[in-house]
């Protein structure tokens, strides 16, 4: 443990730790935000935790969509066109035919 850690108020650390996601999302009120930012400026452990968590969130947001396979898209079009034909009759609880 570093000297800094020895003097660290870990009870406060845990309270701040619970609020990191709300802080990243900009959902903390001003009072809590200032308290957390003060804590982060004094606590490298929590600061590193916040930065790595924020990077994780940013990476998730950057994950791109996969294209829909053309064959599946064609089957889905056929499927929903088939639904229209049975709209006047009772609809099945489950798909009539699995793709």
């Amino acid at each position: 443990m570093s000297d800094q850690d020895k003097d660290h108020d870990h009870g406060h650390c845990l309270e701040m730790f619970k609020k990191l996601s709300e802080y990243i999302d900009g959902e903390l009120d001003q009072l809590n935000c200032e308290e957390l930012e003060n804590h982060l400026s004094d606590c490298p452990t929590c600061k590193i935790c916040m930065i790595t968590l924020k990077q994780t969130v940013n990476l998730c947001k950057e994950v791109k969509d996969n294209p829909v396979p053309e064959s599946f898209s064609d089957k889905m079009t056929t499927f929903v066109e088939g639904l229209q034909k049975v709209k006047d009759g009772p609809l099945p609880a489950k798909p009539v035919k699995k793709l």
Partner: protein
């Protein structure tokens, strides 16, 4: 006046199409499919981790949308209603499936211990620009980590951080309190961060 009469009607880019379909133009239903097919397919992939299951989810969701669209009251964005249908379909499917039972994610598992030797520097991966960091291999690792989240955390993480819904919208889609969404999201993110740390440190 009942509460339902007081609810504000929400118009969005899908309103005209849905009104047309509900007024008898069911021939326009495939337009809805084209608008949301890719989003739902990717939602299915993220939730199920399997192409076949994702395809089933898209099909079952559109079947349910076709059945229940006439009940849509424009009290929310259509997209949010669609994801509510998809989420409900997904949960029902998975209850019947072979997947592992749910387990809780404990905050205690991710809090740096008092006695723990903690790195005093931000790791390189957390400092790199996203466009230099996010390659196919990392995206695959991330997808795998998301699929390994217990379902109730995965739903929240996928809706919030991958599909881009707000806390309030996610709460509405999942019929949860916003405070519960926040708790689950924080735990899910800590879980994913841990997986990423493991990947970069290995």
């Amino acid at each position: 006046m009942t509460a339902s009469h007081n609810r504000k009607r929400i118009n969005d880019q899908d309103t005209e199409l849905i009104e047309a379909i509900n007024a008898g133009r069911s021939d326009r239903f495939p337009e809805l499919l084209k608008r949301y097919e890719q989003k739902l397919y990717n939602f299915g992939l993220r939730m199920c981790g399997d192409v076949r299951d994702a395809e089933d989810l898209v099909q079952d969701t559109f079947l349910n949308v076709f059945k229940y669209l006439k009940d849509f009251r424009f009290e929310t964005k259509f997209k949010n209603w669609l994801y509510r249908v998809a989420t409900s379909t997904c949960i029902k499917k998975r209850r019947k499936s072979k997947f592992a039972p749910e387990h809780e994610i404990s905050l205690d598992d991710y809090i740096p211990a008092e006695s723990e030797h903690v790195a005093q520097h931000v790791p390189d991966w957390a400092r790199m620009p996203l466009d230099q960091l996010l390659n196919e291999e990392l995206a695959a690792q991330l997808r795998e980590a998301i699929v390994s989240l217990p379902e109730k955390y995965r739903l929240v993480a996928v809706l919030r951080d991958l599909e881009g819904f707000s806390t309030a919208e996610t709460a509405q889609i999942l019929n949860l309190q916003p405070s519960n969404v926040k708790v689950r999201l924080h735990r899910a993110r800590l879980f994913l961060r841990d997986k990423l740390k493991g990947y970069f440190e290995s």
